[in-house]
C-alpha cells in the first residue's frame, strides 16, 4: 500500500513529475550515449595508433628507440621470430620492416618523412598499408624502385603516379645515399598527417639502398586482443633474454594515448557528476515544492501518529519511483541511439579537421560499456535518492501545529 500511495502521489501533479523525469531521462541519456561515443573515439584512436606501423608489441634493436638510426639493426629477423613464436597467442600477426628518416624530393618540392621498407604480404592485418592502395598498384616483394605514397603527399608534391621521387638518407656507413623511385601507387589514410608521414618501398630495395644486407629496423606484432599485450610482451622478453633487443608495447610507444586512456575513466566519473549536479538542482527544488504543497497532509499524518521515519521513507519512495522510471527510459533511449549509431557509425566530418589533429578519424562507432551504464544508473539512483533526503527530512519534520497554521 505504501508503494501504491507513493504511485498515486506522484501523479497528483503529472506535469511536475514529468518534468523531473525528463531531467532524469536527459541526464542518463547523455551520460550513456555521450560516454559510449567518447569510448568509441578512444577505441578508434587506439586502433589507428596501433595500425599506424606501431603494433601491440614492437621489437627494436637495442638503441633504436632512443636514436632511430639505421646503424642499429636486427640482423636476422627470422631467427628472432623463431625464438618468440611460442609466446604468440592464436591469430597473432607480425611484420618486419626497415624504417629510416629520409628526405623526399622532386623538381619542385622536398619534405622530411619516414621511408618504410616492407614485405607487403606481411602487412595485411598488421598495419594500415596492408589494406592496399587507392590508386595504382601496391609494391611487390621484389620491386627494385617502386614506391607507394600517400594521397596528401602526392598533392603536396604536385605529382602523380608514374612520376619519379628521389629519396635521400644515411646508409649504414653514415654516408649519404639517394635513390630514385617511381610512384606506382597511392594510399589513403583517415589522417592526412599519416599520408604525408610515410612512404613505402619493398624491404629488399630499402635494405639494398641503405646497405643493411638482411637487416631490419623493427618487428611489429599485432595481437587479436589488445588486453593480452602486457603478458605476451613479458613472455617475449623472457624468450629474448640475453639478446640485445628491446621490447616495447603500444603503451610505451604511444604514451599520450596511454595516459589519455588512463584518465578517461576518471573523466567519465567527473562528467557524470557534472551532469548529475545540474539534474540534482531540479530534483531537489521540485521535491521541495511538492513537500511544501502537501504540508497539511504531512501534518495530518503526524497527528494520526505516523512516525517521522515513515514519512521520510514515503517521500524517498516517491522520488525513488520517479528516478527509476526516468533512469529506465533514459537507458532505453541511450541504448537505442547507440545501437542505431553503431550500425552506421557517426560522421563527425564537420569537426574532422580538428579531430584529425587529435588522431581521431571522422567516422566514429560508439562503444557501449556495461560498466558505464551501471555507473550512470548508480550515480542517478544513489545520488538522486541522497539529494531527496533533504526534502524528505523537511517533510518528516513538519509538525501538526505548524501545518494547521499554514493555510
Amino acid at each position: 500500500m505504501e508503494f501504491q500511495i507513493a504511485w498515486r502521489n506522484i501523479w497528483r501533479n503529472p506535469r511536475r513529475t514529468v518534468i523531473i523525469m525528463i531531467a532524469v531521462i536527459i541526464g542518463v541519456w547523455t551520460m550513456i550515449a555521450l560516454t559510449s561515443l567518447m569510448r568509441g573515439m578512444v577505441a578508434d584512436m587506439l586502433d589507428r595508433g596501433i595500425a599506424t606501423l606501431t603494433g601491440d608489441i614492437k621489437i627494436y634493436p637495442a638503441g633504436f628507440h632512443d636514436d632511430p638510426s639505421i646503424s642499429f639493426q636486427i640482423n636476422d629477423a627470422d631467427f628472432v621470430l623463431s625464438k618468440i613464436a611460442n609466446a604468440f597467442p592464436e591469430d597473432t600477426q607480425y611484420a618486419s620492416r626497415v624504417r629510416v628518416n629520409a628526405i623526399a624530393s622532386n623538381a619542385r618540392h622536398s619534405a622530411g618523412l619516414t621511408l618504410v621498407g616492407i614485405d607487403p604480404g606481411q602487412e595485411k592485418g598488421v598495419s594500415f598499408i596492408g589494406n592496399g592502395v587507392l590508386d595504382g598498384r601496391m609494391i611487390s616483394r621484389d620491386d627494385k624502385n617502386a614506391i607507394v605514397v600517400g594521397q596528401a603527399l602526392l598533392e603536396k608534391f604536385e605529382t602523380r603516379i608514374g612520376r619519379k621521387l628521389i629519396l635521400m638518407s644515411q646508409d649504414r656507413q653514415n654516408e649519404i645515399t639517394s635513390k630514385a623511385y617511381k610512384i606506382v601507387g597511392v594510399f589513403r589514410s583517415k589522417l592526412a598527417s599519416t599520408e604525408k608521414q610515410f612512404v613505402f618501398v619493398s624491404k629488399s630495395s630499402a635494405q639494398n639502398m641503405l646497405g643493411m644486407e638482411n637487416g631490419v629496423s623493427e618487428i611489429s606484432i599485432v595481437l587479436a586482443d589488445h588486453e593480452k599485450t602486457g603478458r605476451v610482451a613479458e613472455s617475449i622478453s623472457t624468450a629474448l633474454n640475453g639478446s640485445d633487443l628491446e621490447i616495447y608495447t603500444w603503451k610505451d610507444l604511444l604514451p599520450m594515448l596511454k595516459s589519455y586512456m588512463e584518465v578517461f575513466d576518471g573523466f567519465i566519473v567527473l562528467w557524470f557528476l557534472v551532469i548529475f549536479v545540474a539534474m540534482a538542482f531540479g530534483i531537489v527544488n521540485t521535491m521541495l515544492m511538492a513537500v511544501y504543497e502537501r504540508m497539511r497532509e504531512f501534518g495530518l499524518l503526524k497527528a494520526l501518529g505516523m512516525k517521522p521515519a515513515l514519512i521520510l521513507r514515503s517521500v524517498l519512495i516517491e522520488s525513488g519511483i520517479i528516478l527509476a522510471i526516468g533512469a529506465f527510459a533514459g537507458n532505453l533511449l541511450a541504448i537505442g541511439l547507440v545501437m542505431i549509431i553503431a550500425a552506421t557509425g557517426i560522421d563527425l566530418s564537420a569537426l574532422a579537421s580538428g579531430l584529425e589533429y587529435a588522431g581521431v578519424s571522422s567516422i566514429i562507432y560508439p562503444e557501449l560499456v556495461l560498466k558505464d551504464v551501471f555507473l550512470a544508473n548508480g550515480v542517478v539512483m544513489v545520488l538522486g535518492l541522497a539529494v531527496s533526503i533533504y526534502p524528505a527530512v523537511k517533510a518528516s519534520r513538519i509538525t501538526p501545529v505548524e501545518a494547521m497554521a499554514h493555510t
Partner: protein
C-alpha cells in the same frame, strides 16, 4: 479514574515582542465516556487546549495525562505511538488524505497500527456503514461533500478503538443541518461504544448536544458545567 487529566497547563506564544497567554493554568479532568464541548470566543484557547490533550503541542508548565500516560514523561515517538493507538482526531478541514478513497482513509490508521489487510478492510467497511457512507467507500475526498468528508474523518477516528476522540470545530465548515447530522453520529458512537468525545465549537446547537460544557475565556476556564 479519569481518562483525561489536564494539570496546571500554561502555554504562552510569543509573537515578536508580545506574549500571548493562550492557556493560563488550566485544570480539567474528563471521565471515560464523556461527551464534552469546549466553547469560547475566538482566540480563547480552544484549539490550543485540544492540541495539548492530543499531544500535538506541549505545555510550558503543567502536565497532561491521557489513559494513564503522563505526557511530560514521554518523547515524541512515544507520543506518536499514543496518538496512533489511543487518540482519534477530527479537524475542521483537511482531514483526509486526498489520494486515498474513503475506505482507504479509514484503513490507513489501521495500516499504521499493523492490522492485517483483510481485517482492515472489514472494519473500515463496517465503520463506513455506521456513518452511512457504504455507497461512497470508493470515492476520493474530492468527490465527497464537506459533511461526507467529516463523516469519513469520524469513522477513521473511531475505527482504531481510541480512548478519546478530539474534534476541533468539526462542524464549522458545514451547514447547520449537515452539522447536526455529524453531531448525531458522534453522539451515537459515544453512546454505543462509550468513546470519549471532546470537541470545541462556536455553535450553540453543538453546545446543546454536549453533556458537559467547558467555557474558555482568555486561556482560562470561565465556566464548567455538566448537564
Amino acid at each position: 479514574m479519569p481518562i483525561v487529566e489536564v494539570k496546571g497547563v500554561d502555554k504562552v506564544y510569543h509573537q515578536g515582542d508580545t506574549a500571548v497567554h493562550a492557556l493560563d493554568n488550566i485544570h480539567l479532568s474528563m471521565d471515560a465516556g464523556s461527551f464534552a464541548a469546549i466553547a469560547g470566543p475566538s482566540g480563547s484557547g480552544k484549539t490550543t487546549l485540544l492540541n495539548m490533550i492530543g499531544g500535538l503541542d506541549l505545555p510550558d508548565h503543567g502536565d497532561v495525562i491521557v489513559d494513564g500516560r503522563h505526557f511530560s514523561e514521554m518523547n515524541q515517538s512515544q507520543l506518536a505511538q499514543l496518538r496512533l493507538n489511543r487518540i482519534g482526531f477530527v479537524f475542521q478541514a483537511y482531514n483526509l488524505i486526498p489520494v486515498l478513497s474513503a475506505v482507504e482513509n479509514v484503513e490507513y490508521v489501521m495500516l499504521l497500527q499493523g492490522v492485517e489487510k483483510a481485517e482492515r478492510r472489514d472494519r473500515a467497511m463496517a465503520m463506513l456503514d455506521e456513518v452511512g457512507l457504504t455507497e461512497k467507500y470508493d470515492n476520493r475526498p474530492a468527490e465527497l461533500s464537506g459533511g461526507q468528508q467529516q463523516r469519513v474523518a469520524v469513522a477513521r477516528a473511531i475505527v482504531s478503538n481510541p480512548a478519546i476522540v478530539l474534534a476541533d470545530e468539526p462542524t464549522a465548515n458545514l451547514d447547520s443541518k449537515t452539522g447536526e447530522g455529524l453531531l448525531r453520529i458522534m453522539a451515537e458512537m459515544n453512546e454505543r461504544r462509550n468513546v470519549t468525545f471532546i470537541f470545541s465549537t462556536h455553535d450553540k446547537m453543538v453546545m446543546d448536544y454536549a453533556h458537559r460544557l467547558v467555557l474558555l475565556r482568555d486561556g482560562m476556564i470561565d465556566d464548567d458545567r455538566s448537564k
